[in-house]
Amino acid sequence: MSQLKINGKTYGFKEGSTLLECAKENGISIPTMCFLKETGALTSCFICVVEVEGKTNLIPACAAKAEDGMVVVTDSNKVKEARKKALELLLSDHTGDCLGPCHLGCPAHINIPKFIEELRRGDNKAAITTIKKSVALPAVLGRVCPEICEKVCRRKEKDSAVAICHLKRYAADLDLASGAPYLPFVEKSTGKKTAVIGGGAAGLTAAYFLRQFGHDVTIFEKNEKLGGGLRYGMKAERLSEKVLDKEIAQVLKIGITVRVKTEIGRDIRLKELLESFDAVFFASGWNNEVFDMFKKEGLAADPAGPKINRATHETNIKGVFAGEKTTLAVRASAIGHFAATAINNYLKGLSLEYEKRPFSVKMGKVSKEELEILSKGASESKRLLRSIVDNVIVKENPGEERVPFLRGETFEESKRCLKCACRKEKTCLLKKYSIEYGAKTEAYKGAKRGFSQDVKKTGIVYESGKCIMCGICVKISNKNKEISGFTYIYRGFNTRIDVPFDKKIDKVMEKTAEECVAKCPTGALAKM
């Protein structure tokens, strides 16, 4: 049997098999986007490149046949760097948003497009699940949040932003009012103990997520009640205690211990805490008193805030974490969630760094024409600024007097979403490998394709700006003898894959549209 060497190890191989097949058979993973068994090697994406001894160029593993005595390297720096570059070049001509601008813009990165779609479907359970994956207190945030997400909502460029904050509040209120409000899944106990200092938005959120990770959590609150700034720094008409209490109770339900009227530095010292807790998180807000307490407990800080590693929230003392100063509840929420992630990584012995800003290609500002295309599926109606019930203008009546959406209104408002986010964000190979190889979305700037969208009545969407020219759909439609199937058009940087003669895909692609959607490695071909 013929043999070859991959990454220093010798393997036998079947005559005629490609390097990609060989590697796969032996458990060595090589990334590829344009290769499929049924379509054969198309050698277009070039991320499957490997080094072959004796060749100056990198070789696409999908097409190169294994030869006796070949020496192949699949994981050298040269290879990784080339894959990263190929991905970055593809990203530089990839038009779309992996995540909606609202999703990225929200400090807590709530998957807004997803919960809006769930609300549109009338599935409140799903909506609250989506929301509570990122925040612990949505009913509260739905009342106090300055709507940062709405400032970047693309619908704003057309008329006005989708009432995201109001929709979130609707979902949260409905959930709390239901007989069985949403409770997250709590992982098996890890036996680790964590202390959270401060029971405000950051502390409650951190506790909520730390508990879900399976850790024991105790909140230390100096005041009589939990809530921090939400309780003691908020006008009552903005946020009623009733709502706050209800939502905090819901958080605590998953098994969080609370010690109120306990102040660090006065009632208990950090040193003592560290004897009984594996990790401590300071979510104590920031003022002169806290600054003094930090100094007293030996924590590095300056008047502007605690001195921490911004990527991990670590302080100068091992096992002690702290959140940066903020005055916004939503930002505090985000800090709580991120710190909980870092602490969990710390307790599980993983790398402490977590993704602060999720990976996403951004379309940025769109042209009028592009906006027009994006708006096609959305409802034309204006933002519901006033309630149909009693004609009270929302802006003039902040806080608790804000009139909540009714069921029908929620439905109407949710239809206004332009759905900027990619439909295949979860399965996109370009995204997957970009994260894996650390490819940056804006490593190369230059001319980019415009946004376009072609929708088939059967609910299939083709967005050519997201196409990486892999050629899989061309091969599939050709193989199945579509009368008018996908084809390459033009040459050079202007090369596109599209249906011929400026036709719309609705008129063509009778047999293979579904298959092409399933095989398309990116969100170029997707289901509505």
């Binding site: 277009s44 100056t56 020219m469 009368i483 084809t487 390459y488 040459r491 940087f493 011929p500």
Partner: protein
């Protein structure tokens, strides 16, 4: 693509074309070419009809029709003005010409056809008339050495000609060379024609007929002395031949009067009288009284010809390219005869191996080894193909065009010997669309060969048969890559495939295929005739034999030359080419076109050899040599090649499709003075990435022009980051102004297309910087060197 403006497209024409051409996929390109020939563009209705009546799907058709540059999808004007943007034309100001044409036709941005629908302007890749740069073609008529100022006159001239001479298509008169008559040999390669030789020949014919002179004109192939075209040789039966260079229509009369006599005494008398009258009426104001003949043994012509060794270009300027008898009389087809009658196929391959001949297409793969591989490749039923790669796409190269036009029989003979040695009975000449005369000559030559029994069934009674077809390319540089070329013949987009399998194992229609370049085949007859050892004795150890180069650019004597391998670049540029213009400095030579690079003057003593050239970062390529002087900007030059490559990329691989685009964008930034030093580093880094991460030769070599330019001329790149263009070429970084030498003649003001100079007679002129479009018109016309360009 323009969707159906129902122009009453007569679909019966499409049906007729299909029934004549065939219905299978491989007929797609010829069908589209014929449809376009009829409609001047590809109407959508016609394309859809093709799909209905052939095996070709809409997807396949649309893919192909949008891939090749030749195909147009919009209605065009009555006439097409193609401005050549090849390398030589670029360095000689093709950009100014395009601008001038567009201004003359009053075209707005984004438009390419004038309001009267008379003219459509196109940029052409390269016509291979590099020594006449810049070149413009209007329909079939080529104009060389065009200037911006000449543009209105050129268009006017074209229209007047058209009116006088509506579609004259008279068959070529068959010349008979009677002994005793004076033979006037005129080169009729397409360069020469562009230089006016067809007009000169017509003038000779007319003058001879009108005056019943004892002479005939004879069409001969390229002499190679393109710098002095039209080139005329007067070969008497008794006298030594006399040569004239740069002959003009007006010279015809003078030359005839000097050398020829009339056939009858009466005519002679009439002529004498006429001569006298002409002397009175003829305007000799700006022409010398006599055209001066030259001697090939002395002066520049000698320097040009003497160092050359002509194997591939044997008998240049002597024989009629299409006269098979003449070719045979000079020893043509003797090599084929020797091969098929006295040698075994293996012996032929052995001789080629001994000769050390390496592929002249650029990569330098040993020819004999390739032939042997194809010979040993197994194929069902034994079917194999042979292809002559005549898709000479490098802008700045025209060797293959010249060979196909001037020495069609030699190429056919070489290819036939190869087919015999390998055991192939069918093949193709793939000739690029921009070379109509080459295609025409090959087609005619093939027909002649079949008639004479040196091609077709049972060649020379040997039992060996070979059927050869021609295939016209459709405008795609990448089709010079062998797998793309094969895809193109098969009727597909010219997208390369991963090798192996090499065409030698799995090529055209899945069969083992031998592909060589034109010059490679043309070298074969000499090798077979004289033996491999004799050939190996020429040139260097690793690179044997001779190499044909197309010498053009900023060189005094450009042309088609053939030198033994090992000759230095300096010998070629300064010896044969006579160096750059007086007062200018030889800066670099671009070798290998878009896949090659710039070899700086300091390295000009490098011997020409595959390995030596590669060591500089350039490649031998197919043989384009474009000489650059100190007025050529290396940043702009790199941008020029990258722009070309970017347009030509088949679009398949990531690095080539997107990578070269990003490189081009950085170069554009640098040319505008907006780049930084880190951009240069990034450019180099990207260049290296594209090189190692591309599938085919196009991508693998695409960064070469950029990388060599940075390697040897980094200071120029750095200057651009400081908003300076040392060569004073980049428009955004230069300024035109008038110095004190101005004599106030107002010529510049008249020439200025943007009214940036006000005509104030006898006063020093001024350039309004706001209005100046940097078209160079003022500088070109100024009689007193009063226009300064500063950076």
């Amino acid at each position: 693509m323009q969707s159906g403006n129902k122009n009453n497209i007569d679909l019966s024409i499409v049906e007729r074309i299909v029934s004549e051409t065939g219905k299978d996929k491989s007929k797609l390109l010829p069908i589209l070419q014929k449809v376009q020939k009829h409609f001047k563009y590809l109407p959508e209705e016609a394309l859809l009809r093709i799909c209905e009546i052939t095996e070709i799907s809409q997807a396949e058709l649309a893919g192909v029709a949008t891939f090749y540059t030749q195909f147009r999808h919009k209605i065009v004007g009555k006439h097409i003005i193609s401005v050549c943007h090849g390398t030589a034309c670029h360095v000689k100001g093709a950009e100014y010409i395009t601008d001038a044409v567009r201004r003359y036709l009053k075209l707005k941005d984004g438009e390419d056809t004038d309001v009267n629908n008379m003219f459509t302007v196109e940029k052409a890749a390269c016509f291979g008339c590099c020594t006449l740069a810049p070149v413009v073609k209007i329909d079939g008529v080529t104009y060389g050495k065009v200037t911006g100022r000449f543009v209105p006159e050129m268009i006017d001239l074209f229209l007047r000609r058209k009116a006088q001479n509506p579609e004259k298509n008279k068959p070529e008169a068959k010349e008979s060379y009677v002994k005793g008559k004076v033979i006037i040999k005129i080169g009729l390669g397409s360069c020469c024609v562009a230089g006016g030789s067809k007009d000169v020949k017509d003038a000779f014919d007319k003058y001879i007929a009108d005056n019943s002179l004892e002479a005939v004109t004879k069409r001969v192939g390229c002499v190679g002395m393109c710098h002095s075209t039209p080139f005329v040789e007067i070969a008497g039966s008794n006298n030594e031949p006399v040569f004239y260079v740069g002959v003009n229509v007006d010279d015809v009369k003078i030359i005839c009067d000097k050398h020829l006599t009339s056939s009858t005494p009466m005519k002679r008398l009439v002529n004498t009288v006429k001569k006298g009258l002409d002397r009175i009426s003829f305007n000799y104001y700006d022409r010398p009284e006599q055209a001066d003949s030259i001697k090939l043994e002395e002066g520049g012509e000698c320097a040009f010809l003497q160092p050359q060794k002509r194997i591939v270009l044997e008998n240049s300027g002597e024989v009629d390219p299409l006269d098979l008898n003449e070719y045979r009389a000079k020893g043509g087809f003797k090599a084929l005869e020797k091969a098929v009658k006295n040698m075994k196929p293996g012996e032929v391959i052995e001789q080629v191996k001994i000769s050390g001949l390496r592929g002249r297409g650029g990569a330098g793969f040993p020819t004999g080894v390739k032939w042997e591989t194809v010979r040993l490749s197994k194929s069902l039923g034994g079917k194999k193909y042979i292809i002559c790669n005549g898709d000479e796409g490098d802008p700045g190269a025209f060797m293959d065009r010249m060979l196909l036009e001037s020495y069609p029989y030699r190429v056919i003979e070489g290819l036939t010997i190869a087919a015999f040695a390998i055991g192939i009975d069918e093949g193709y000449f793939y000739i690029r669309d921009e070379y109509p005369l080459a295609l025409e000559n090959i087609e005619k030559a093939l027909a002649e060969c079949e008639k004479a029994g040196v091609l077709g069934e049972n060649i020379l009674g040997s039992g060996f048969s070979l059927k050869l077809h021609t295939f016209r390319g459709a405008g795609a540089f990448v089709c010079g890559e062998e797998t793309a070329l094969i895809a193109s013949i098969e009727g597909k987009r010219g997208m390369p495939n991963f090798r192996p399998p090499y065409p030698a194992e799995k090529g055209l229609f899945g069969r083992p295929t031998n592909i060589n370049n034109v010059e490679t085949y043309a070298s074969v007859p000499w090798i077979i005739k004289n033996g491999g050892t004799a050939y190996a004795g020429i040139g260097t150890k690793r690179s044997s034999g001779t190499k044909v180069f197309a010498l053009a650019g900023k060189v005094e004597r450009g042309g088609l030359i053939e030198v033994p391998m090992g000759t230095t670049i300096r010998e070629v540029v300064e010896g044969i080419g006579g160096g750059v213009k007086k007062g200018r400095k030889f800066k670099a030579v671009q070798i290998g076109g878009p896949s090659g690079g710039c070899v700086p003057e300091v390295m000009a003593d490098l011997p020409i050899d595959f390995e030596e050239i590669t060591s500089t970062g350039a490649i031998m390529g197919s043989g384009g040599l474009v000489v650059l002087d100190d007025t050529d900007c290396m940043v702009d030059f790199a941008r020029f090649f990258l722009e070309f490559i970017q347009n030509q990329s088949c679009g398949k691989c990531t690095f080539c499709r997107v990578g070269t685009k990003r490189m081009l964008e950085i170069l554009e930034k640098l040319c505008k003075g907006e780049g930084s030093v880190s951009d240069i580093d990034r450019l180099e880094e990207l260049g290296r990435d594209v090189k190692i991460g591309s599938l085919c030769g196009l991508g693998k070599t695409a960064p070469n022009p950029v990388l060599t330019a940075i390697k040897y001329f980094k200071e120029e790149y750095i200057a651009h980051t400081k908003r300076k263009c040392p060569a004073k070429k980049c428009k955004e970084l230069i300024k035109y102004s008038v110095n004190d030498k101005c004599i106030g003649c107002t010529l510049c003001a008249q020439a200025c297309p943007s009214d940036a100079i006000t005509a104030r007679p006898f006063e020093k002129h001024e350039v309004d910087q706001e209005k100046c479009i940097k078209c160079d018109s003022c500088k070109a016309i100024c009689p007193s060197e009063a226009i300064d360009v500063t950076t």
